[in-house]
Symmetry: C2
Subunit: 183 residues, 2 copies
């Protein structure tokens, strides 16, 4: 793997790992504030980030040892409204800067497996940002978010509210590959 | 918080998040190779890293936005023997370089809360390295590790095989704060 794409992949593993961790801790905070649907959304999306991190990590199986990940992450936990703001900012960065540039470099370097792993994350984060925005609107209005089942594709992390699609729009896996997070 | 300690805390959150993520994926691999006790050890220690990451993250609640975490992490997943080698190398780095220097800087800067969070991790990683070494010896001999309950303190992450101590040696929490990972 070309070194620029490799470093981007290392950074992306770091970013996804930290997003997973933040969302699990944010879920606990949402439970304390009695927002069970927001907590469920955080846990579902944490699972998607776990899948992204695993996909990226497996792209690096040619390595054998320590490397420094340089990963932008959102800091400063607070109440659920603040945590949702941080979550939205993190997804926004991934959609507008991180994954678009990582995809561009992977294309330029002919790294097709890396490009695919970045594209699966990119396509997912767009949905994450929308779901977190919906949750923030509810929480800032003083109530829990109204939320159907949240479906997470176990292959690519694609996340959608409602019924699972017959075919995952990102990785083309069948419906059976979706895990539902229900209340 | 002084900026050098703050950056170390940001890096430590990144490192713990990535360790948690690696160990969860390594647990899945160990299950595939029919090493259920090694898988259980990975899941218990992943939980300890989750606690470390949360303790560090809460030390940063004065922040509000994006920062870059620079976190050394072990890359190159393979079979369980290789994964244990990577896990041992990661714990070794934390024990011999990362946490000792972060603790020294926190002491020098008078950052007592940060120092405590780093010390809790440091004291835990020593036990993690020993447990992973025991597991690697068994796996390299072709069998699963013999392993009693693995106890994880939910306050500081302290990890020990066997009975939970009456008082956590790191954070002084009572026995009730330990979660047992049993087969
Ligand atoms: Fe992601
Ligand atoms: Fe996301
Ligand atoms: Fe998918
Ligand atoms: Fe740790
Ligand atoms: Fe550890
Ligand atoms: Fe403890």
């Amino acid at each position: 793997m070309k070194l620029s794409t490799q470093q981007n992949m290392i950074n992306a593993f770091g970013g996804e790992s930290q997003a997973n961790m933040r969302y699990l801790h944010f879920a606990t905070q949402a439970e304390k504030e009695n927002f069970p649907n927001v907590a469920r959304l955080f846990r579902a999306i944490a699972q998607a980030e776990y899948i992204h991190a695993g996909d990226h990590y497996r792209c690096l199986k040619h390595l054998d040892g320590g490397f420094v990940a340089n990963s932008m992450a959102a800091f400063g936990p607070g109440d659920t409204s603040k945590n949702l703001k941080l979550a939205i900012a993190g997804e926004e960065f991934e959609i507008t800067e991180m994954y678009p540039t990582y995809i561009e470099v992977a294309k330029y370097q002919g790294e097709k497996d890396a490009q695919r792993s970045f594209e699966w994350s990119y396509g997912t984060e767009i949905e994450h940002k929308k779901l977190f925005e919906k949750a923030k609107q509810a929480v800032d209005g003083g109530s829990d978010v109204e939320l159907g089942p949240v479906q997470v594709c176990e292959v690519c992390g694609y996340t959608v509210e409602g019924d699972a699609p017959d075919i995952c729009p990102l990785c083309k896996s069948p419906k059976e590959k979706f895990t539902a997070f229900i209340s």
